[in-house]
Symmetry: C2
Subunit: 286 residues, 2 copies
């Protein structure tokens, strides 16, 4: 464990624990921001919110293999640790935890956390096993670090809902906090996967957010969610997307179909632009 | 939360956490002994070991429905909270945590922890879902209490192995400690389920432990484990047992078949005496 005035980087759970204990012994509060690296301004907004929320901030950078399916982009997922460390250092983050796969999943590793219901539709249906991988690695990271609060981007809305459910069900002694999505000027949600887009695709990509906003406004105005979603899918395809995995209106917390019982709703989508899969979501304003 | 010189009983997670925090603020260490109540001298031996291991001891008493199968003895499992509290008070236990089912599994509960490998054979094969229920409730209890050390009886050897694996895999910041089985004079392992036995069955029951010891001695002497286990099963049946679920020699940590590579072995058995299912295990001495 290096100890300087600037960002420290640790790779071992034992070193992470030692650092957090050192803070705890001084009565300092701790926030954690789990990430897969390739940090963009969305991540940095999370880290800034974490710096507001607690005395010390740990950002984990770990491309978690168990949340990628066999045909997904694990091997080409962007990795840029030095750049990430520089960005974190620049905004005053205290510690970067960057474990190896072997540190996280040593020989004999055998445990999986599954969350029924909220993890099953949408991303869960498109990416079998994805949320098991997410729930398990997040539980591990929270247990390794023991923060008071952990912050996650609302861009991965269903992931946030799964993590909330898991943390509540397992009585994890941590507050789970969502932070609003950061968007480009044209509405495109920041994502590490945007780096895969060509210049032309980058322009087309904004159609996804536009379509979600149209659905949300239509639902608020009392139009049929089903019809709105079909029209939105058609618009996204017309804008150049190759395939729409889903555009759906759901209960914001449970991901069940929205039944109009006054519970908050969310419009969620996943679609492929070329070979790049983008997801996004927006609130249905009350 | 009642606060007297003697045992306190709390039923809410928030009260448990408040009490443990109060201890922590004084720099006291905490041990936990998860139980399903119906406490016998085996449990009390665990609590005495816990009192040696830490400054304060929490015993949870919770008959966990999720680890019982649909045809198992959940409804008739012995419940005797007042007697349990008296016994704990008598040996200096500090806190009994006796939550309701609703406190542990509120509406919307959806999370399951599964451990592959070690949980699959033996009890895992006989009782589908049992170890998912165990792993999940133990993770919850440990997270609710946050002890330094948690103690479990070796009588449920495979359960102990599953919990060790789960705690290591999820990086739970707790030491998992096994405590040797307490036995009657004739070798019968103490168990809350022994209360189901008739006087005649109680005498017959000792055959299970005798058979396990014979297998362990035979394996140590170089005899065939398979042949020894078949002979042991025949002896147990001849002694009056109605059915042998399994008698097996296994790797003590992984529950895989013992391959003679110098790793510790364990002889494990489950058998039915009338309608009462008894389990037991013994070490193969090195």
């Amino acid at each position: 464990m290096t100890q300087t005035d600037t960002l420290d980087i640790v790779r071992k759970v034992a070193d992470l624990r030692a650092r957090v204990k050192y803070w705890r012994d001084q009565g300092l509060s701790v926030a954690m921001v789990p990430t897969m690296g390739a940090l963009h301004d969305g991540h940095l907004t999370l880290v800034r919110a974490a710096l507001e929320a607690a005395d010390r901030v740990v950002v984990s950078v770990f491309v978690n293999p168990t949340q990628f399916g066999p045909t997904e982009d694990l091997s080409r997922y962007p990795r840029q640790e030095a750049t990430d460390a520089e960005a974190l250092d620049g905004i005053g983050c205290h510690l970067m935890f960057a474990p190896t796969v072997e540190e996280m999943y040593p020989d004999g590793f055998a445990t999986t956390i599954s969350v029924k219901g909220v993890s099953e539709p949408l991303e869960g249906a498109c990416r079998p096993g994805h949320f098991d991988g997410v729930a398990t690695v997040v539980a591990k990271l929270l247990s390794q670090c023991g923060p008071d609060v952990a912050l996650f981007g609302e861009k991965d809305w269903q992931q946030l809902a799964v993590i909330r459910r898991m943390a509540r069900d397992l009585d994890l002694p941590v507050e789970i906090r969502g932070v609003p999505t950061v968007r480009e000027a044209d509405g495109l949600a920041l994502s590490s996967r945007n780096a895969y887009l060509s210049a032309e695709q980058r322009v087309q990509a904004a159609a996804l957010h536009r379509a979600l906003v149209t659905v949300a406004e239509g639902v608020k105005a009392g139009q049929s969610p089903e019809e709105l979603c079909h029209r939105a899918a058609a618009e996204v395809l017309a804008a150049g997307f190759a395939h729409v995995d889903y555009i759906e209106v759901r209960d914001a917390a449970t991901m069940a179909p929205l039944t109009g019982n006054g519970r908050p709703g969310r419009v969620l989508a996943a679609a492929k632009l070329g070979t790049t899969r983008l997801i996004d979501n927006v609130a249905i304003e009350e």
